[in-house]
């Protein structure tokens, strides 16, 4: 297991909880587009978490967001949206790539095909024509 840098796991958890708090306590109506916008906004946070060796649980985060959005979006859809925001492995160091692998593996176990989708996104294993 990789050691977490600068206690970033705590910071990451607080930030995710913050967004869930915002979604839960927003007085008006929310739409799937808003939730997707938040997930997109979190792309840099996911990247930072991986850089700090935080093996975060996407399934737990997806469940939190799904509940916070009053089950407007299914957990699987949120999990897929999060996977879509993960960084390109080719831009990461070896250690960080290992962390990324552990992160995606959890989703792959729950929802097979997530890894393929991730590979396609970053064109991993695709030979140049």
């Amino acid at each position: 297991m990789f050691p977490v840098k600068n206690r970033y796991d705590e910071v990451f958890e607080i930030e995710i909880d913050g967004w869930c708090f915002g979604l839960t306590n927003y007085p008006g109506e929310i739409s799937p587009a808003v939730v997707h916008r938040i997930i997109r906004e979190l792309a840099s946070s996911f990247h930072a978490a991986i850089e700090h060796n935080v093996v975060f649980n996407i399934l737990e985060i997806a469940a939190k967001f799904s509940a916070a959005s009053r089950h407007l979006i299914h957990e699987q859809e949120i999990a897929s949206a999060i996977v879509a925001q993960l960084p390109n492995p080719s831009t990461l160091l070896e250690e960080q790539t290992g962390v990324l692998g552990l992160v995606i593996d959890q989703v792959e176990q729950a929802y097979p095909g997530s890894l393929d989708s991730f590979y396609k996104r970053w064109r991993i294993g695709v030979k140049a024509a």
Binding site: Y8, E10, V11, E41, L72, A81
Partner: protein
Amino acid sequence: MTTHHGAQYQGEHPDHERVDQQIIQARMLALRVIAPPKSRIGEILRDRLEELYGRLGDNVDPAKRRELNAANQDRLTEGPEFQSERARQTLGKNNLVSSLGTPVTELNIVVGASELQQQAPKVERAESIPATPKLKTQSGANQQATSQASQSPWVWVLSQLLQTDLKRLGLEPDEMNDIRVFLIKSEAAKYDKLELLSKLPDSLSPEAITKIFEDIRTLAAGYVAFVMVERAQSEAGAEEELKQLIDLPRSICSPFYGINTVNFDPADILSKMG
């Protein structure tokens, strides 16, 4: 060894200022080693909070925003947004075919008001898009069409049809959402041309989404700030307790530090004195 306290130190040591500095540094070092730096988590959270505000707030320094975005620049050009745009262009060119086998560009014809009225009661999950868009008042030949359209959850049905197609294309959820909104807006534009529609529902309006998003972000930032203060206070309290427990200042700056102890037996001295 140099001393720094007592009569021996005062005015006698040539480098007393330097020694003083060393002691201060040692003290600080000891504090750092024994106790963690004060509110480290607070510092990290403060930085994070600044970034959170900086990314989205109105009072953002453009230079800072550029700096924050620079790291993700490469990704953005090859990431979902770019792919969404690409997919959008592809869809535009290829004239996407709906699950009913009808080109999407003709869906405004397929999705007739009377058909939609029949389909509407079957809807179980229509929370994402309001069913009834606001309509302008019409007169003459358009009045009947207006009446039908006002009773039709056309946006929702259209959304469902498009979603089926987009799922078949194997797009990511966020891309799918973007394209769905884009296509619905395209259809809405046709209604607009016919002067049947005055305004898109809020769930499809980028301005409304941005407003909601920023409100949620403010709530999130408030939460982070609250937790930051709470953590910082608890850590500062723990540090104080630790200092009291080990009595750190006295142990380092002891007034007896550096004074040699002399072992003697008073009885022995008295006997020598006779």
